[in-house]
Symmetry: C2
Subunit: 389 residues, 2 copies
């Protein structure tokens, strides 16, 4: 007992200052969501919570552009659980699954699908390039499911989901889409495109606290689920249990009600602002940042303009810039930005433009710090001028 | 689009009053945890968060009474995910698993183990009675794992985990324990008893917000995991990914940092109060409530005193009491208590005495309301007198 007490780490600091979070997630929490977090506690089976859940479901239909009355819900976990729930419920031993893998989240999809028994085939693309829909058509074969990441956080690439969906729909395969860095900020049209399962993470484009994965599930997906030969191993996210709680108010497991409170406010704020307005805001911010940084030698990492993911701005660093040293200096000033991953480490920065991060205020803080650290007079002025345009 | 807007439910009420939550979970949030929820946002890979995580891990070792340096962590989901992660990582196709099932959570364990391929056998007990350790010994056979719910929330029964553990340890099988209604409030000695996997839910005995499942995993369990023939389907809670994030600070998935902030405070508050002091507090509260209600015809539902779970007080209702009507009237006054489940519906109440619910203040509110609703003068006076003892 004494031994344990001695080995306990010193108490962590809990009164640290406000932080400027410009990473590809989590994002700064929306003020309305932050306030809702501390609403009086209720149980997961209370009528007030069910009423709130129904409002969330309706708002999610709008965000995802679903068919009228389509099933939507929050999974009680982060975005990766949203990814896993799709494969767990819709894939069975021996199923053929084609996965578009041009970054680390596409590869994560492949690993999960394989764990649930799929024969996985990959459509790839060179790093920093989008998946070519023609490649999907060529490799489709007898795939029962195709899965694609809409916005690859790891490289800042936007995959052409509408074009891929058109090909998949003709084949009868299900289409699973990872909308983690897009839904709520970029247009998403589940019904019009023909998507069967889509998920995101609360802490990305909606600036709600992490811990929830909003999903939408098509009737076709439910039909596939109903035809399973075996129940899914994943009891926690079993579509039947999920439907029971969200449609029939039957107990499945406790849900994180405080996160529901916050999520509902963040989603409402997004819809009140307007999804087209949010998409325009991201583009305006991305253009202003790029304009301001270009004279210092920064350049877009993703070559083709249509392949660039607006919500994660991937910029190639100028020759000679010491990535680690600059980010460390920024961190000292309570500013977080993110570098590359794997092969792009040290070569790029990934600037988050999701939700509340896509605002002039936090980027003013970054520009001002960079002007000082990089000894680059005029940076703030250029940024302000670009915002005016 | 218009159609969707018309069908959207009316905005839910968000300014409801403070609520008295006396259910078997979630519990009223600890004030320190509530305050921590709105701490400035950080990323899941920030050093401040890793430092906080290490403090949480050390405190969890103390709460669970683990071996020095044993692995502890928070799963990013509710208690049922804690249950599932144990079977997902430690069971493989064809394994023999013996499950003590004397309530709905024991039966949930059996369903999960089967989904992960186990040959499940059950040890049962009559409703409202504890598992007999002799029955476990008789049925142990070649089981590779035994699983038991420490406190059955559904019936208010405490199972004799130390006695069961002694039998299991001799056999070489792994022992999984559901400590959802016990850990943090009742003594738990993972190392001394010989438990290999234990979990709870943040919103139970610790009065933190729901959405986290604190777990502890023994070296024996990790050895079993390392010897798997196939990776677990459950990528999200894969022990290797978990160990990577919690020990080596490598990215696995985003964690709900706001919930970590709150959880750390709630756990610290529990350890500062002292686990023996908390166990005494629950017993004092349970005795006072029982003393106050007995003259009205309430009586303990669980026959044998040693089988009674102190944190969920199951009381048989007096003849003629209209369960639904009384609870509805309480709910109008913003007080939630819970009735029976399945065969005990309408026959019992289950009063939550976990964490912040086990305080005189919220039960004063209940007693005062019951004195009025049941027209039972003297109830509050009896309760106060019993608290004095």
């Amino acid at each position: 007992m004494k031994l344990l007490e001695i080995s306990r780490p010193s108490r962590p600091q809990t009164d640290y200052p406000e932080h400027t979070l410009l990473t590809p997630g989590p994002t700064p929490i929306h003020p309305r969501a932050m306030k809702a977090l501390t609403r009086p506690m209720l149980g997961h089976m209370d009528e007030e919570v069910f009423k709130l859940n129904r409002a969330i479901q309706a708002d999610l239909r709008e965000m995802y552009g679903t068919a009228p009355g389509a099933f939507t819900a929050l999974l009680a976990g982060t975005g990766s659980l949203g990814m896993e729930a799709g494969f767990a419920n819709l894939v069975e031993q021996g199923d053929e699954v084609l996965i578009c893998a041009n970054g680390s989240f596409g590869r994560r999809m492949a690993e999960m699908a394989a764990r649930y028994g799929a024969n996985v085939r990959l459509v790839t693309a060179p790093l920093g390039e989008a998946i070519n829909p023609g490649d999907v058509a060529d490799q489709l074969g007898n795939a029962q499911m195709v899965a694609v990441v809409h916005g690859e956080t790891s490289t800042g690439v936007l995959n052409p989901v509408p074009e891929i969906a058109e090909i998949v729909r003709r084949s009868g395969a299900l289409l699973t889409v990872d909308a983690v860095t897009t839904a709520g900020m970029e247009p998403f049209e589940m019904q019009a495109w023909g998507v069967d399962y889509v998920y995101t993470g609360a802490q990305k484009c909606l600036s709600a606290p992490p811990g929830l994965a909003p999903v939408a599930i098509s009737e076709r997906a439910f039909a596939r689920f109903a035809a399973r030969r075996q129940p899914t191993p994943l009891w926690y996210c079993d579509f039947e249990g999920l439907r029971g709680y969200w449609l029939e108010q039957t107990y499945h497991h406790t849900v994180p009600v405080n996160l529901h409170f916050a999520f509902a406010e963040a989603l409402r704020a997004a819809l009140e602002e307007g999804l087209p307005e949010r998409a325009a805001r991201v583009r305006m911010m991305g253009a202003a940042i790029t304009t301001a940084l270009t004279p210092l030698g920064f350049s877009p990492y993703v070559r083709r303009e249509q392949d660039r993911l607006p919500t994660v701005l991937a910029l190639r660093l100028p020759e000679g810039l010491d990535d680690a040293a600059v980010r460390k200096e920024l961190r000292k000033r309570e500013i977080s930005i993110t570098g590359g991953l794997g092969p792009t480490a040290g070569l790029i920065w990934r600037l988050g433009l999701m939700g509340e991060a896509a605002r002039p205020a936090p980027y003013r803080i970054l520009m001002s710090a960079l002007e000082d650290i990089l000894n680059a007079p005029g940076l703030v002025k250029r940024f302000e001028a670009a915002l005016e345009r």
